[in-house]
């Protein structure tokens, strides 16, 4: 079980989503990807994409305007 941090702080759409898609592709089932974002739109579209693709998703509010999207790859 691997765990990977992806730093997308300061990045605007669509960079966080595209980076997250690419990073998740390299991981195996059961691995965890943590995407750090501070862009409110990415806070919506990254979890939306991950849930639709069938992965487990959690959002943590780290600070004001800063979130970590925790994605557990399912398949």
């Amino acid at each position: 079980m691997k765990e990977e941090m992806l730093d997308c702080l300061g990045e605007a759409c669509p960079v966080p989503l595209v980076k997250a898609q690419k990073a998740l592709e390299k991981l195996d089932a059961g691995d965890i990807l943590i995407v750090q974002i501070d862009h409110s739109c990415a806070m919506k579209n990254v979890p939306e994409w991950a849930r639709e693709a069938g992965h487990n998703v959690e959002i943590e509010e780290v600070d004001d305007g800063e979130w970590e999207v925790v994605i557990e790859k399912v398949k």
Partner: protein
Amino acid sequence: MSDQTTTPAGGSTGSIRRSSRATSRKPKKSQIPKGISALLVIIAIGIALMILVSERVSFFWFTGIAFGFILQRARFCFTAAMRDPYLTGGTSLSKAVLTAFAVTSIGFWAIKYGAFTRGLPIPGQGFIAPISLATAVGAFLFGIGMVIAGGCASGTLMRVGEGFQMQLISIFFFVVGSLLGARHFGWWKLNVMLCGRAVFLPDVLGWFGAIVVQLLVIALLWIAADKYAKRKGADSAH
């Protein structure tokens, strides 16, 4: 809409087990008092504009506030609506933009048709622009620019409000680009735009035909966007 995701407001319950966690997590400071102060300043500016300048300017200020607030609250993004189908395969914003087109069209149609039947001047006809090569080139350049800059005109303004330094630069160069475009506008007008024609759909299809055809086209695009996303989703699962 079934594809909407609701996001938990605070820290999660943590059913995904993760080992690393940001160690020095400082307690969050609520920005709500600042938000309330911002609202008071916004109202004060609106009242000041009403007294010192004009009611009209004050009205524009408050509708701007409403547009900015709605765009930010809903994370509404015209750029993503155009870009995501190609880039990420998502179309939920594209569908939302199409919905906005449909609802606004009905409202505008009613206002325009109402004015027409009562023999009044039809409002907003200045937005029926001539179609020429300039429309195509302008829209194409705009499309490239908004994806690279990470936001369209309204989106860039909204992101400036959200605290993006990058968008502060892009709004400045948006202004510079506008000035260049205005400088060359005479040439485009003379050589390109004059060949174009403005088409107001009710002139071609009739008042009822125009709104019916428009809503049908929007509905078909909406269905296409929906099917496209589902197909893309199915593809990426394998």
